[in-house]
């Protein structure tokens, strides 16, 4: 070991910004980064999008799939129709789309501008082979009475490198039903009839009885990608645009559509088109892959581990006499605390003996628990006397001990520069349960009372008002979290509104159920200054695998009351079970008072980790409007913290009583802030998008539910990101 000081003579005196290698390269690399999932060397073929935001030609789909995990955002406009679509490639073969459409000058069915939401599903049945095309089955606007309802089976084959043509040619042929068979139908292969579009229906339910029924019509086309930037498309459309032509929105003179596209950047493609012999159109296609961060995450490395002296050469260094001293644990705690703090870790408790030490610490910086564990282990190796061989590292989250990672110090020393350093360390690491409390330990004397506060701007969008697709409210918020002791928290959020287009909405509730969610406009019309939440909570571990929480106060904007939860989640288990009970009363539109409506609501929940980042959750119980039912949620979580989920809730409320949409459903999206910034952090941007918010199947929004607090520190979450343990 040899410590060498920085070569200051060479560096000083020069015009030299530090961050020479890291920042500049991080930025350059990001521009080069492509989808990196299955194989980081693969540059997957990236399909182009159609006017529906799906892989496709101009208005017709193709059989291609997006690279796994990709988000595609398509905004297209022609003939007064604007379609905004978000498509997520949930698995390598399955994708789902959510679309919002506005058609101007509709002037029928009570709309000036027709606005509607629709969902699509696509499944690639066959991947493209050398001789065989890719085949995809798609359901367009599959849940409802929307004007876009249609199904298709489509095949696409890529031709490349042959003949005299440069670039790549993709030929597509398919058969459509429903809207996609409104022109040029050739028969009714699966029989049946399809009811006409009914603007008065509640919609929202999968219209299984209609799928692939009625006439079918062929469609097809060709895309020629001349080079990496330019492409041209031509297609034969099987869509008659009956509804649009009937309302005089557009004139359809031809079945043929043509277009040209330009790849503006790695993520953005622009297209210009001539459609149906009468209209010019444009399409903006954006493809983002969560696996390719905007700025690659880089973590400032720690110094290498200083190996302990050879025991045979200097046995005195290995003496255990130090452990006799009552002061030793306090001294070690005080030495360890700043080393941990340099890595964003906070020491909560330390228990030491001659050859073992247990550290309980809080991770404030790293999304991946493995990074925190690796850094805590190296901090221990830096501080602990040589005789301490076994490290137990327990991650703590708001007073809950998540898991205990046991690492031998000699393994840490031996494997730091191993050719498979992470895998080799995992093979000799134990991840087990952590007891609720640590006996015979020294605690941090600076941690409590712990508090944090923020004053800053906020912006809350509100989507899909039929008169104004995006409404929002913005202003200043003040947030406070005060923790007097482990597991206790006083939390609150005060908001003052400065700008607002939401309360202008005239769409007040027409619900026949207790108005537990649909009065949001009345809340928005209340006072500008609002106490959003103010609550006291306590969480603790009654047993090694059991977690508990009690919360009371103003739990959310619309309800206040008490909430209790118990969760069973063994450290290594994929399954977790929980029970939550709440008694809440509806809050006044302004001020701190309550309305008359109160309800006992609660759920029994089962959570399951399917592996590869797929998570499932089922909640069965009583909802805010007093309805009984269940919510199913499926989520895909990427290793870097992106989460995309879909959920639906079925309760004993009838479709008619529920109103538009028939039942509650939506999409959850969480984007980690560090994906943009490239510096480690745990914060995220989250949103839930519902086609429409009604009163049925509405769940209380309690702050600090247990499952995610616990899961992130358990075995599967830690090992999933173990590759980063040496960062």
């Amino acid at each position: 070991m040899q410590q060498v000081s920085k070569p200051t003579r060479i560096v000083t005196g020069e015009v030299r910004k530090t961050r020479v290698i890291g920042t500049v390269f991080a930025v350059v690399c990001a521009a080069q980064a492509s989808a990196q999932d299955a194989d980081i060397f693969d540059v997957p073929d990236r399909p182009t999008l159609n006017f529906y935001g799906s892989p496709g030609l101009v208005d017709m789909p193709t059989a291609e799939s997006l690279p796994d995990g990709t988000f595609a955002i398509g905004v297209s406009n022609f003939g007064g129709t604007t379609r905004t679509t978000l498509t997520f490639q949930a698995t390598p073969r399955l994708s789902a789309s959510f679309r919002y459409v506005g058609i101007q000058d509709w002037n029928a069915n009570g709309f000036d501008t027709y606005r509607d939401r629709s969902f699509d599903l696509r499944y690639q049945v066959l991947k493209e082979r050398r001789t065989l095309p890719a085949v995809t089955v798609g359901l367009q606007d599959f849940a409802g009475t929307g004007i876009y309802a249609g199904e298709y089976v489509v095949a696409t084959k890529t031709f490349e490198g042959g003949g005299r043509l440069p670039g790549r040619v993709k030929a597509t042929a398919g058969l459509g039903w429903g809207r996609l068979a409104s022109s040029g139908a050739i028969g009714t292969p699966f029989g049946g009839t399809r009811p006409a579009f009914d603007p008065a229906g509640t919609g929202g339910s999968p219209s299984v009885d209609q799928w692939f029924r009625g006439p079918a019509a062929p469609f097809g086309g060709v895309e020629w990608q001349i080079n990496d930037r330019w492409g041209v498309k031509a297609e034969y459309s099987s869509d008659a645009y009956d509804a649009e032509t009937g309302n005089g929105v557009l004139v359809r003179k031809s079945r043929l559509n043509f277009g040209t596209e330009y790849q503006l950047s790695n993520r953005i493609r622009l297209g210009a088109y001539y459609l149906y012999g009468s209209e010019f159109g444009v399409n903006v296609q954006v493809q983002l892959n969560p696996n390719a961060p905007l700025t690659p995450l880089s973590v400032r490395p720690t110094g290498p581990i200083e190996p302990r002296p050879d025991r045979a050469v200097s046995p005195e260094a290995w003496s255990t006499d130090w452990s006799e001293s009552a002061q030793a644990p306090l001294t070690l705690r005080d030495q360890l605390t700043p080393v941990l703090a340099a890595s964003g870790l906070k020491l909560e408790a330390l228990q030491v003996s001659a050859n073992r030490a247990e550290l309980r610490f809080r991770n404030t910086r790293y999304r991946a628990t493995s990074v925190a564990v690796g850094r805590a282990a190296r901090a221990m190796a830096q501080v602990m006397p040589a005789s301490v061989e076994t490290f137990r590292l327990v991650t703590m989250h708001n007073g809950l001990a998540q898991s205990a990672v046991t690492i031998r110090r000699s393994d840490l020393e031996a494997l730091e520069f191993d050719s498979q350093a992470a895998d080799a360390l995992l093979a000799v690491t134990g991840i087990g349960e952590a007891a609720p409390m640590l006996g015979n330990a020294v605690y941090s004397d600076t941690l409590y009372p712990d508090y944090a506060w923020t004053i800053g701007p906020y912006l809350e969008p509100n989507y899909f008002d039929p008169d104004e697709p995006v409404r929002f409210e913005g202003g200043i918020k003040f947030e406070l979290n005060y923790s007097p002791a482990p597991g206790w928290e006083l939390g609150g959020r005060l908001k003052h509104r400065l700008v607002d287009t939401f309360s202008d909405s005239t769409r007040t509730s027409n619900s026949v159920l207790p108005r537990v969610r649909t009065d949001s406009i009345l809340y928005a019309r209340g006072s500008d200054t609002v106490l959003d939440t103010l609550y006291v909570s306590r969480q603790w571990k009654p047993g090694n695998d059991i977690y508990a929480r009690v919360t009371a106060g103003y739990l959310e904007r619309m309800f206040g009351g008490v909430s209790g939860e118990v969760l069973w989640k063994p450290v290594g288990s994929r399954l977790a079970l929980g029970v939550e009970g709440n008694y809440v009363q509806q809050r006044d539109f302004s001020g701190l008072g309550f309305q008359d409506y109160s309800v006992a609501t609660g759920h029994a929940s089962a959570y399951y980790e399917f592996g590869r980042g797929y998570l499932g959750q089922v909640d069965v119980g009583r909802y805010l409007a007093g309805d009984l039912g269940a919510t199913v949620t499926l989520t895909r979580e990427f290793k870097n913290g992106w989460r995309v989920g879909g959920f639906f809730t079925l309760t004993d409320v009838s479709s008619a009583d529920f109103g538009e949409g028939s039942f509650d459903k939506g999409i959850n999206l969480t984007v980690p802030l560090d994906w943009f910034l490239g510096t480690p952090g745990k914060r995220t941007l989250s949103t839930t998008i519902r086609p429409i918010q009604r009163d049925g199947g509405a769940r209380l929004d309690v702050p600090g539910r247990l499952y995610e607090q616990v899961r992130q520190g358990h075995r599967n979450a830690v090992t999933d990101n173990w590759d980063r343990v040496w960062e």
């Binding site: 890291g22 500049v24 690659p296 191993d418 508090y451 943009f676 941007l685």
Partner: protein, 230 residues
């Protein structure tokens, strides 16, 4: 181009409102504020002149304590000087050296062969060097090298490259004011459609690697090392 896009993305998400925060714990700004200040930092970095390369002289080296390694990544061509922060032996082949850049990036070398980086983002997390070091015996050779590379999402991929070492003969290189007699070797490694070629110059008198150009990762490319002062 990337930076401009980042700025637009971030400015789109943020708007300027003063924010403050406090507490006994980590200082935490509101999310919008964080995005805005990040966008501003990127904006401010536009138009910064590229640092001028330092012409290394013997006098400059003599004034500098300790060992000095010059590093120039292909991507930017910007020069940096690394300092040796650790040196040790373990069960693996050769001597491990950890070199650190002025912006705290670490490069881990075994007898001069790159076996890891830390802090880059697109890092080489770990690598085998045995086959490479064995190929320095003057006979050439080669073999499999398992290299673990960081993915863009925090994952890592273990890749087994098939490598081949070629003797390029004696080569006299200039390092500052010294002419150094070396053996030059070239290592070509392949995995599927991906190949990289490393070059090494090993001093004939000491067997120490004086100069090399080595591949780090698909996201970072190559970096050239020159050991200026031992």
């Amino acid at each position: 181009m990337m930076r401009r896009r980042t700025v637009f993305a971030l400015i789109g998400a943020a708007f300027a409102l003063a924010a403050c925060s406090g507490g006994s714990g980590q200082k935490q700004d509101s999310t919008l504020t964080t995005l805005f200040s990040s966008a501003k930092a990127v904006y401010d970095s536009w138009g910064q002149p590229a640092p001028q390369p330092v012409v290394v002289t013997r006098a400059l080296l003599d004034q500098t304590p300790g060992q000095v390694m010059q590093a120039i990544p292909d991507r930017t061509g910007l020069q940096d000087f690394l300092r040796l922060i650790a040196q040790r032996r373990d069960d693996g082949p050769g001597v491990v050296e950890v070199w650190q850049s002025s912006d705290n990036i670490q490069f881990i070398l075994r007898d001069g062969v790159l076996v890891g980086t830390k802090g880059l983002g697109p890092d080489m997390r770990s690598a085998q060097a045995g086959a490479t070091l064995a190929g320095f015996d003057g006979q050439g050779g080669g073999g499999a090298r398992l290299i673990t590379l960081a993915g863009g999402n925090g994952s890592a991929q273990r890749v087994e490259f098939a490598c081949d070492m070629t003797q390029m003969g004696r080569d006299t290189i200039q390092i500052v004011d010294q002419r150094v007699s070396t053996y030059r070797m070239q290592e070509t490694c392949a995995y599927g459609g991906t190949t990289f070629t490393n070059e090494y110059w090993v001093e004939t008198s000491s067997g120490r690697m004086r100069k090399s150009r080595q591949w780090v990762s698909p996201g970072f490319g190559y970096i050239a090392f020159e050991r200026l002062k031992n």
